[in-house]
Symmetry: C2
């Protein structure tokens, strides 16, 4: 069976950098935005639209639709189709070879592959600093606003994960290892974790 | 400053074995029951009594006392004295040299030492098996009863930790690393984590 590592992460914790470096270190394939491109190919939908659907709060979308007498039912159908496609694509990725997959509730969708499940998190101070430096590239937003955005993104991730898995996003019992990136350089963490993960697959 | 590692753990997860092995691997002193013996020496109280006080639900003790018109006030005073002694002993341990400390909310009490904080946890199945094998040494208890006992012990740990720290016990944001022992041998985990911890203290 192929070796699958899933990385769930708080926004701003450096989970994506961690995942990319871990994949490089192990010589595994790396999947993040690539999944969106695959869905776009299969569905003939626009990548930006797909990303928007996957990263918005699905429960809210559904509630809105049902509250408005099904006027938005096509939108819901498209969302369901996108989620189904995502599941199929994740499963075909898992069949292809060893890989590291970021987000997408892959830890649950690929459970039959016994993935090694990692959750990456950090302190609010660390995430704030990192998001301002790496994502926003400017200092015009107030810290309060940036933190509010971080919490909102994580709330949506949590909500969608719960919908797919019936589990609580970020609850450590769902993962093999939960790593706080606040106090150590991600490069250093990856170097140390590579052997740990390899032991799991022995 | 001395290097302090604190190990918090779910009952039955193998946290104590992990801590002992990690201390041996790093050549650090190891403190667990030794703290009880120190409190006994300082207070002239019986070790078993001290252990009983520290491992019982302090909030419940207080509530009981206040609900019964202070008839039990001496008991509460003794409990407070034991907790104060424990804090002082933890601080003198931290001053002595590099060490690994199990439980006792040492991660919070020794916060000024910037300890590396680890939380050890495992699945219910793993904990059930381990407790039956290593603690009970027999099979006469039902799985349901053993799990109930595990949850009760953890509930008390959580309650006392919260009282001391105003933080949530087991909430991953309080720790540098949370390790699930369900799927890898503890000896193997310790070997892999030793370098990780060393990097933190560099």
């Amino acid at each position: 069976m192929n070796k699958i590592i899933t990385i769930s992460r708080e926004f701003g914790s450096g989970g994506r950098e961690f995942a990319k470096r871990l994949a490089d270190e192990l010589g595994f394939s790396y999947y993040d935005k690539e999944i969106i491109s695959e869905i776009a190919k299969e569905s003939n939908l626009n990548e930006e639209y797909i990303e928007n659907v996957l990263n918005s709060d699905i429960v809210n979308q559904f509630n809105y639709t049902f509250a408005h007498s099904f006027t938005n039912i096509n939108q819901v159908n498209t969302s369901v189709e996108i989620f189904n496609l995502q599941n199929n694509i994740l499963k075909s990725i898992a069949k292809k070879g060893n890989c590291v997959i970021v987000g997408r509730a892959a830890d649950v969708i690929l459970e039959e592959y016994n993935p090694f499940k990692i959750f990456i998190y950090a302190s609010d101070e660390y995430k704030l600093q990192r998001v301002k430096e790496k994502e926003l590239h400017d200092n015009s937003c107030s810290n309060k606003d940036v933190l509010k955005m971080i919490k909102k993104i994580d709330k949506t991730r949590a909500s969608n994960y719960e919908l797919i898995s019936c589990k609580t996003w970020g609850d450590k019992s769902n993962y093999d290892l939960c790593i706080n990136t606040s106090n150590l350089d991600i490069k250093v963490i990856v170097k140390q974790i590579t052997n740990y993960v390899s032991e799991y697959f022995k």
